[in-house]
Amino acid sequence: MDWNLIIQVSFESIIGSTAIIYALAAIGLNVHFGYTGLLNFGQSAFLGVAAYGLAMSVTTFGLPFWVGIGVGLLGAVVLALLLGVPTLRLRADYLAIVTIAAAEIIRLLFRSVSLSEWTGGSDGLQRFSDDFYAMNPYSQGIKILPLIDMDSRDLWVLTVGWILVALACLIVWLLMRSPWGRVLKAIREDEDAVRSLGKNVFSYKIQALILGGVLGSLGGFMFALSRAAVQPDTYGTELTFFAYTILILGGAARVFGPVVGAVIFWFLIVFIDALLIELIKVGAIPTAIMDPNQAGSVRYILVGVGLMCLLIFRPQGIFGDKKEVMLDAR
């Protein structure tokens, strides 16, 4: 058993880029679902549009890096409008189905052969992150064994990523204690009541959808930049469902819920995965029961079981206040 390796990957998952990406995705979902009660099942599309907006601008059209970022952000806003305008007047279930459908449409378009001239098809795109890494101020990595061993690129990604997470949390915190946030929370409880008090519910829902989408799109940028590549299939529905699990794990409608959730989620996933693979390697788990490929599906099974148990036994998240959830009339 290589315990050092298990400890290292597990520790690195706590601060790693994957936790950052999912924290940002879940912070966006928190604005949608946690605060406004919008069932957005297409968060992956917001990350995908941002990532591809950046990658296509730079790689396909040769535009500067910052223009790519602008295109990605604009893409997220436009997507929010496209999804929101037709559905936000309808029942909540419709938004759920339309968002998940739209996310699939977008993924299928990204991986389509007919558009591969621009999107790179199922291979995706690379070579758009040079400008990002050129801004890297670190000249060397960091190595504190057995906890951490990363190069200067990783360090730069993590620095930018955690700054973005902190910024996103700050924005959510500021907004949710303002009258604007009060309207969102009221819409989550009962939108007809809010309408009867003279608030333009539709407009607030659109604003919430855009804000959550843009926060999620930051996760898309980090996804693309940390991997130095975009691939269509990484923006599938699983990404959205993982983000929901993270949000509920950390506690919906809490500013730091998504961050705490993402860290715990990825620690558990990576730890269990590394442990299983090591156990198989040293023969503690016979390959007749499980081989390394099957170990890959175990993590999904665990996520699913975890999501169900959370919803059933602790819908307020692991740190949440049970009282508040009991009032939920939905």
């Binding site: 390796l5 690195e12 419709y94 190069d151 990783d154 991997r227 990484t234 993590r299 999904y300 919803l311």
Partner: protein, 420 residues
């Protein structure tokens, strides 16, 4: 090390889920096929700076994978190992220069096609009019498969308000159960089908008896239950993957049945028989919903559960019955789908969105809307391939969903709701 391992983990996570390849780590991969037939035994060599780094031979399914560390590579397909009547198409030739990035498999595309004496003479491109009847038929066939799933989704939504994201796994369950009965145990396919439908009904019953019924008693909210169903879907899907692996497999019988010509149509008889079965079942269930006492009770529960309960209907019993019927219908749908396109662990999940589109199109919770919506989705997906590439046919269906919701928000047969 960090990024490499995490990247590998991440790759497996992101790509296993949705792509047919189940490889881990970095490397090169591809799938060779000519026409619709996999091409096996073709040698592919990879070199880096002129140094050979590895070679691989494509498998029976035409797929090949070569694990290599990140870096720039030259990949060469050894044309001498190609079958006699198959050759490389296009001007790109056998050599590809590309880069493998950290944590990602790189796909290498080699378009192959028939050449030489063995190849059939190039036919003139069939016209739109020639293709239309066959596309419409396939659309109806897929529409029927969808309808079997959509009816269950719609009934469950109608009676307990749940948008069941785990319904796709009921479809997969039926297909896999039939596969076990047929290919593993060796029963004839028709018997396997019957057993799979019974098993599917039982699975639905069990789910409600021990899980959903329990959640209803705990008064779990509807949004909560919807997310629980997402969790359940994930668990089931990956239990299927764990047990059955990622390959797409065919039933032992009728796997490649030749089509027969019926007027302008070319149809495999197995599909026609399945169509008849599906129509019979759908008509029977619809008739039961309209005419029998239980059917009326079901509709009463969909309209107003508390009123139904007050007038002496056992709502829990009705919902359990709905789950049983829904499970059985989904299993039939799964077997039909399996006969049409093969069996794999995520076939139901891939259908689920189309099923949802069908149900939403018809109007959430209206059983007949679900049937109508299924036909629309089935035919639109197929006929749209006249204009859009086949790989994007599902895009047309989902886009049609969004457009129809724009025009008629409550769906084709849905009603607007009263406020206050």
């Amino acid at each position: 090390m960090f990024t490499a391992l995490l990247g590998a983990l991440f790759f497996a996570l992101g790509v296993n889920a949705t792509s047919a390849y189940a490889a881990e780590g970095e490397g090169l991969q591809g799938a060779l096929s000519s026409g619709n037939q996999p091409v096996a035994g073709v040698k592919i060599n990879a070199t880096q700076n002129g140094q050979p780094v590895g070679s691989v031979v494509s498998g029976a399914d035409g797929k090949w994978t070569l694990s290599v560390p990140p870096g720039k590579y030259e990949v060469v397909l050894d044309e001498s190992t190609l079958p006699e009547n198959v050759g490389l198409q296009g001007a790109a030739g056998p050599t590809r220069s590309l880069e493998v990035f950290e944590g990602a498999m790189r796909n290498v595309l080699y378009p192959l096609g028939p050449v030489g004496a063995g190849a059939p003479p190039p036919e003139s491109e069939p016209t739109m009019l020639d293709r239309l009847p066959n596309l419409v038929y396939t659309g109806v066939h897929i529409g029927l498969i969808l309808a079997l799933g959509a009816l269950g989704v719609s009934l469950i939504f109608g009676t307990m308000g749940l948008t069941n994201f785990a319904h796709g796994e009921l479809i997969t369950f039926g297909a896999l159960a039939a596969f076990v009965f047929n290919s593993t145990i060796g029963l004839p396919l028709w018997l396997a089908l019957v057993l799979a439908v019974v098993a599917g009904g039982g699975f639905g019953w069990l789910q409600d008896r021990f899980f959903w019924g329990w959640l209803r008693k705990r008064r779990t909210g509807l949004v909560g239950m919807m997310i629980v169903s997402i969790g359940l879907a994930m668990v089931l899907r990956y239990v299927f993957l764990f047990q059955f692996r990622g390959d797409t497999r065919q039933y032992a019988d009728y796997a490649a049945q030749a089509g027969v010509e019926i007027g302008p149509l070319l149809i495999a008889p197995k599909n026609l028989i399945m169509d008849a079965v599906a129509i019979l079942v759908l008509v029977a269930v619809s008739f039961a919903l309209l005419k029998t006492r239980l059917g009326k009770a079901t509709r009463a529960v969909s309209t107003n559960p508390s009123l139904a309960a007050a007038s002496g209907i056992d709502v829990d019993k009705i919902i359990r019955l709905i789950w049983t019927i829904g499970g059985a219908l989904a299993a039939l749908s799964g077997v039909m789908l399996g006969m049409f396109q093969g069996v794999n662990f995520q076939m139901g999940f891939q259908m689920l969105l189309l099923v949802f589109a069908a149900v939403t199109l018809g109007g959430l919770g209206t059983a007949f809307g679900a049937l109508l919506g299924s036909m629309v989705v089935g035919v639109v997906t197929q006929v749209s391939t006249l204009w859009v590439p086949t790989e994007l046919k599902n895009v047309s269906a989902l886009a049609a969903l969004i457009i129809i919701l724009l025009i008629r928000p409550q769906g084709i047969l849905g009603r607007r709701e009263r406020i206050g």
